[in-house]
Each structure stands twice: as structure tokens, then as C-alpha cells.
Symmetry: C2
Subunit: 461 residues, 2 copies
């Protein structure tokens, strides 16, 4: 056993104590009253990085919550620079009454650490710091250059990280990002994340009469804005389930047969999924199964609709206006702004007679993300994860949602991201009784020691 692995084995008690210490800080980024706690968590991480041997450590302000930078850059110019990403902010805890033990009083039960943020992402984030520390303390140096970008806004969608990374691109310059906010497939099997969907949004307001009208006086005479909006929505999808917006699929990258095969190697239980969702049947784009529709195909979804009377009983009004919110989930190489414009064009073209349409958008976008399983970073991660998980090869997975920061890393730093974290989907992330499996916490520390060691002489693919 190498020296650093022996070190890792010897430090488990301390590692757990430290993770508990961090979990005790209620760093809820969504709640203004916890802003000070988010700063406290940033300072804790900074101190821990310094203690681990990182240098140039700073808590950097953003327009929102701060981010922590640190580095160790003595591996030489011929060695790659690896940026490790994670976050120290956590989700809110309500409903509090459903927690078996208080969310910020971490407790070990059945080899699991219970507490808000234990899994997402304080535990996995810490594995990266501790893995680096183990190698550095044992060997006196790292084989590669390492930087850290640990943020405090992930749970609110990283609203300031785009501008922050754009402004700090030299400080964070790197060859590859390792994302400690990734996750396992299940407790005994890892996953290599290859793609995420992007996002654009549109809010449409259909206006008819200039004020609400009495349906007795005027019903039948004019186009009802609610009905006009419904008709407009009905034009957006073909009966077969595919999106009817012209050009919507034009830039979609079709996965190779091998890539689709890899997706379908992962066990899938459609009946169980239907039962979990509470639906009688799936509905969506033909030619793709439920997993493919969620992972590798774009969609347009209604997120909200409103107009007129919503109270109890009857109010015979023709409302002046009706509103709907849409988002499109996008896949590579769809450009969010371009797809948004296609949808706007569709709405303009299909605006029903006698009403006006007004379109708003948040102005924020997420780019879809796609990486090849053959990317050398993914291949290295896959090799290590296979060893760490007793020969179980990691699945090739995709996520239907977006992690905007991966796009910012690519856009501002020119670096791809390997997702490499240790939480499991069943660990009550974002829910009461979040927990983290300690066996994967310790496995993760070893995983980080291993990948930092084996990235020596790594070249971007």
C-alpha cells in the first residue's frame, strides 16, 4: 500500500469529525438570514485548504455569496493543471418536523452521516481536499498542479458564477475540471456523466380586451384570451409527441449507436417509474424510450399557466389576459438563444386572431453539455471507479437538468469537466433526513488521491 493510502486509512476518525464540523454550519444559500453562515462555511473551507497544504487561498467576493480559491502549483509547467470544483452551500431544511435528528446536528446511524449537506455537497467536496492532503502530506508534493473553485451559490443556481468566472479566468485557468458535486449510480456503482440538458425560457401573455369583461354581455363576440392561449399552446407539439416548432430539432446531435446502447445497458424499470410518478402511460417524442427522452432529447415544457378567475365558485368573466411560462430543455448542439427565437417565431406565426401576444424571457440561459465517453479524463475516471467499486464499471449517464457552471468552465476556461463525486440519488438530497454513506466518503478520499496521482502527464484529448 502506498504511503498516502495508508495515511487515508489512518485518518478516518478525524475525517468524520471534520465533516461533522462543516455540516454544523447552516450555510443555506437561499435564505438571506443565513448569509453569514455561508461566509462561515467559506472560511472553514479556506482554513481546511490551507491546513491541507494548499496555497494562495482566498475567499473571493462575488455579487452574491463568496467562492473559495486555493492552489498548489509546484508540479511543473509540463504537468496539467486540474481545477477541483465543489460547493459548501446547502438547501433549506423545511419541513423541519420531518427530520429525525436536527439537520445541523450531524449524527452517525448505520454507517451513514445524517445532516443537511452531508451528501450534497459538503461530504464529496471534502473528499477532494482530503485526497489532495493525503498525497501532499505523504509524498511532500503532488504529481499535478491543482486549483480549487469551491462556491457558495450552487443550491440557488450559481447566479453569479458566470460573471465571476468570466472576470477571474486567469486565476482559474486550467486544463481539466474535476467536479466533486457529481454522484454515483448507486452505492456500489459509479457513473460517468456525459451530458446535461440546457435551458431557455419564455413567458407569453395573450391579451384580448383591455379590461375583464362580463361573459354575459360579451361572451361569444371576441376571442377569449385563455382560449387563444390554449390554442397557441396546442400548436406547439404534434399529436405524436414531438415538438412542432419549426427547426426545433435542427441542431440536435444524435448519439452514436454505441452511446445509445451504453445508456440502455443501465437497468431501467418503466413500470416502477410510472408508478413512482403516478402516471398511467408515458408520452413524448416517438422513437425514444423514457430514459432517452429525459436524458438525450430536447423538450418544451409548460411550467405555469394563469388567467381569469381561480377562486371558489363561478365568476362569469372573460379575462383581459392569460399567461403561460415555458422552458425548453436542450441538448447539444442546440443554442439556447436560437431555440428561444424559434419558439418566439412560432408564437408570432400562430398568434390567434383578435388577441395580442407579448413575450418576456428571464435573459438567463443554460447551454447543453455533452462529452464523449472516450474523453481521456472520462476514461481515466472510469478506470479508477471500476477499481474502487470492486470491478463494477461505471455506467455512462446523462442528466435531464442542467448544471450551469459546467458551461461556464467550458466557456470561460476552455476546460471540460469530469464529474467525480460520491453521493447517491437516494440520500435525500434537498429533502429531510439527508445522509451520506461513510463507506463512500472514505472511498471518495481515496478516489481523489488516486486521480490526482494518475493525472500525471495527462494531456487534453
Amino acid at each position: 500500500m502506498s504511503a498516502w493510502k495508508a495515511y487515508v486509512s489512518s485518518q478516518r476518525e478525524r475525517y468524520l469529525a471534520e465533516l461533522k464540523e462543516l455540516v454544523r454550519i447552516p450555510s443555506i444559500s437561499a435564505l438571506p438570514e443565513h448569509s453569514g453562515d455561508v461566509v462561515k462555511a467559506a472560511e472553514w473551507v479556506a482554513q481546511r485548504l490551507i491546513q491541507a497544504g494548499a496555497e494562495n487561498c482566498v475567499v473571493l467576493p462575488t455579487s452574491g455569496h463568496p467562492a473559495v480559491y486555493a492552489d498548489w502549483l509546484h508540479a511543473g509547467d509540463d504537468q496539467p493543471t486540474i481545477l477541483i470544483y465543489g460547493h459548501f452551500d446547502v438547501q433549506p431544511v423545511d419541513p423541519l418536523e420531518l427530520w429525525e435528528t436536527p439537520p445541523f446536528e450531524p449524527e452517525v446511524r448505520d454507517e451513514r452521516l445524517y445532516g443537511r449537506g452531508a451528501s450534497d455537497d459538503k461530504g464529496s467536496m471534502l473528499t477532494a481536499i482530503l485526497g489532495m492532503e493525503a498525497v501532499l502530506k505523504s509524498e511532500g508534493k503532488l504529481p499535478v498542479n491543482v486549483k480549487f473553485c469551491i462556491e457558495g451559490e450552487e443550491e440557488i443556481g450559481s447566479p453569479d458564477m458566470d460573471a465571476f468566472l468570466a472576470a477571474e479566468k486567469e486565476r482559474f485557468a486550467c486544463d481539466l475540471v474535476i467536479n466533486a458535486d457529481g454522484g454515483l449510480w448507486d452505492e456500489d456503482r459509479a457513473a460517468i456523466l456525459l451530458g446535461l440538458r440546457g435551458l431557455c425560457d419564455i413567458e407569453v401573455t395573450v391579451t384580448g380586451p383591455k379590461s375583464d369583461l362580463h361573459s354575459g354581455l360579451h361572451g361569444g363576440v371576441l376571442n377569449n384570451p385563455i382560449e387563444a392561449l390554449a390554442n397557441l399552446i396546442a400548436t406547439m407539439r404534434h399529436a405524436d409527441g414531438s415538438i412542432a416548432v419549426a427547426g426545433f430539432y435542427d441542431d440536435v446531435v444524435e448519439l452514436t449507436a454505441e452511446q445509445r446502447e451504453a445508456i440502455n445497458l443501465i437497468p431501467r424499470d418503466d413500470d416502477k417509474l410510472k408508478s413512482e410518478l403516478g402516471i398511467s402511460e408515458f408520452f413524448g417524442e416517438p422513437g425514444y424510450n423514457s430514459r432517452e427522452r429525459a436524458w438525450i432529447r430536447p423538450t418544451l415544457e409548460l411550467n405555469g399557466i394563469w388567467g381569469g378567475f381561480q377562486g371558489k365558485g363561478t365568476k362569469t368573466v372573460i379575462p383581459s389576459a392569460a399567461h403561460a411560462k415555458f422552458t425548453c430543455r436542450l441538448v447539444a448542439d442546440q443554442e439556447p438563444k436560437k431555440v428561444q427565437q424559434l419558439v418566439i417565431d412560432h408564437i408570432r406565426k400562430h398568434t390567434p386572431p383578435g388577441v395580442k401576444v407579448e413575450i418576456k424571457a428571464s435573459g438567463s440561459y443554460a447551454f447543453p453539455y455533452l462529452m464523449s465517453p472516450d474523453h481521456s479524463g472520462n476514461q481515466l475516471a472510469a478506470a479508477i471507479l471500476t477499481e474502487l467499486f470492486d470491478g463494477n464499471e461505471p455506467f455512462q449517464s446523462y442528466v435531464g437538468g442542467s448544471i450551469p457552471i459546467l458551461t461556464y468552465f467550458r466557456q470561460h476556461l476552455g476546460a471540460d469537466t469530469v464529474s467525480y463525486g460520491w453521493g447517491c440519488g437516494d440520500e435525500n438530497l434537498h429533502a429531510p433526513n439527508e445522509f451520506y454513506r461513510l463507506k463512500n466518503f472514505y472511498r471518495g478520499i481515496e478516489g481523489y488521491g488516486e486521480i490526482l496521482t494518475r493525472l500525471k502527464d495527462w494531456q487534453p484529448a
Copy 2:
């Protein structure tokens, strides 16, 4: 000049003073804190009926606000019994700051009496009592038997009058109803109301997944309830504007060519209407103009829709459910319950895949109302109104809304209703600065004296 007309001419000052007295009572039926005032107005009306010579006067309780009954039944069994209808309750007054003088401090300006309820319906209701009084005081008797039904719930939709009239059908038994809550076409021309639309309602809930879902995780996989609801709504109307619910128009009585012609004799300014409503074009059932669509054709209107996220910004949710409220405006001989069932059948038949539909209804209905212009009551009223308005024949008009009590009179008493009131549509009914033209107040008193006199020997057509 007959004795009773001379009497009417001599009493104007007292008539005005009495109307002011009644307007001072803030009998707002919609506001529980004014319940006592509604009772006060009922008692005022009862006293005034007794003073006018009516007999058997009682303030009758209902499940809500009371109604006043009185009669004068000494014309003999061979003479018809006429039931006069009106109401003493009024609309709320907000926004109070827009009133030039306080709503319950009546004031005459420019030969108009300003005050809440002056026009709707205290003024017109009083013309009937005063008209009867003039004949009775001058002649010592009436040529016909007269009953009064003056209610206190009209402005809240007469919720208790159905049950009340059903229970009191003997007391209110009559041959013809004269409705003092009717109105003029404009200040110089009357209108004979021939039809009103009925109403039925439906609330539909489309349920997809058993809880709200993250559109990133599941978007594209299942039918989105908002979209399913929009698609369902889109099936309800043909592109040409007609309602697509099978059987919807089956029971509609087509008016005769003469009746339609009479409607179109009334001046109509479509450009002005469009500008008032703030719409660029009309939309509705082909083959009918804007007035016909509102007056004599049925429609199905969306009154409200809601589901998912309605706040600021973006929330990428697929909601568990979406909801819509509809009402149908009906014309003779459509039966509200039957049409409601047709719509329900349509919804069941067109329910999109993968979602469930749940249907609710208020359980209250309004029947459409239709009378022929040739009805002898209408013909008598038209003759008198032509004389009273300097030779201007009244228009034959319809109302797109419903007045449920007319249906109850027909259902429980077997009597048709002649609308015979003196308010104008521009008198700020239901709005600040309601007023009543005094010339039509005095004209109305004469009109009631005249019609009671000329109903002698009247026979149901």
C-alpha cells in the same frame, strides 16, 4: 287629463323626497355588515306599499335577505292578477373615492338624482308603487288585481329566490309579471326585452404525475397537465369560431327573419364597440354579427385557468395538475343540465393520453329566457312606451346575461315577465356616481299608472 295623471303631476316634489329617503338606506346586500340596512329598506318599502293602499303587506324571511309581499286584489276574479317585481338592495360602493358626493347622501344635479341605487333599482321599483298609488288614490280602485314581490338579493344573484318562490307559489300566483328592474334603450327610447341567456358551469382538473416534477429530470417523458389541458380546450371550438361540442347547438331556437331584422334595426357601431373593448377584431360563430352573437347565440367561455408556477422568474416544474373554469351561455331551448352533460361528454372523449380528468360543477344553473315580441303583454307595453317616448317605438332587445328570477317566475308561477323599467345603461349602475334621470322617474310613474289601467281585461296570449 285623467284624475290620476293630474295627481302624478302634482306630487313630484314628494316623490323625489321619498326616493331620496330610500336611497339614504345603505342596503348593500353583498356586505354582511349591511344586512340590517337591507332589512331597513325592506321595512321602508313595506310601509310605503301600505301607505299607497296595498294590503296584506308582509316582510317575508328567506334564507338570506327578506322579500316584501303586498297586494290589492279587489278588481274581481274576471280580472288578471299582475305581479310587480323589483328590488331594494344595492351594489357595494367601492371605490368610494371616485364618488363626487357620498353614495348614500342623494343629491340632485342637472335633473339627475345621484346616489347608489337611485337608478338600480330603488327609483324604478318606486315608480311601480307610486303609479299604483296614483290610480288607487284618484279612482278609489285598480282595474286589475296587483301583487308585489320586492326582493333584497338581486345584486347578489337572488340565491334564495328559487326556493322562496317555490315555497310561496300560492301567495305570488299571478297571470303576468311586470319587472320594474328593466331598463330603457337610452334616455329617449325604451326597449322591450325579449330574451336572456342561460348559464351552466364546469370546472375541469387535469392531473398528470402525483406530485410536481422537476422538468430537468422528467421533462419529455410524460404528458404535461398544462399542455394536456390546453389541448383539451383547443378541441372545444372549431377554427371558424363555432363550438365543437357535439350536439351543442341542437336545441337552439333560431329566431324568425323578422325577429333578427328587429335586432338589426337597433343602431350598432362595431368600430366603437371594438374600440371600447380594446380589441382589433371580433371572433365568434360565423353567420352572426357581434350583437347576434352576444344576444341570441350560445357560447362557451373560459373564465379562469391555472396550474404550476405563476411567480416572477423561472421555476422548472412540471405541475401535478392544471385547472380551468368554463361557463356556457345558453339560449332557448337549450337546457343547462343537458348542455353541461354534452360538454362533460366532450371532455371525457377528448381527454389526452396519460392524464386524468376530474370535473366539478357549482350545481346552479340559469335557464335561457325567450319571449315573442307578439306576446300581448309586450305589445301593450310597447304601445304605452311609444306614447310615453314621443312616438319612438321601443327597440326589441335581448341580454347576453341571465336574470335568474325571470326563470323562477316562469317555473314556479307559470307566468311570463314583461320588463318595464326606466333606468339607462349609462347611469353608472354598479359604479361610482350612479344617477337616475328624474324625467324618466316621473315618466315611469305615469307608465305604471297607464299599464295597470290598460291591463284591464288582459288575457294571457
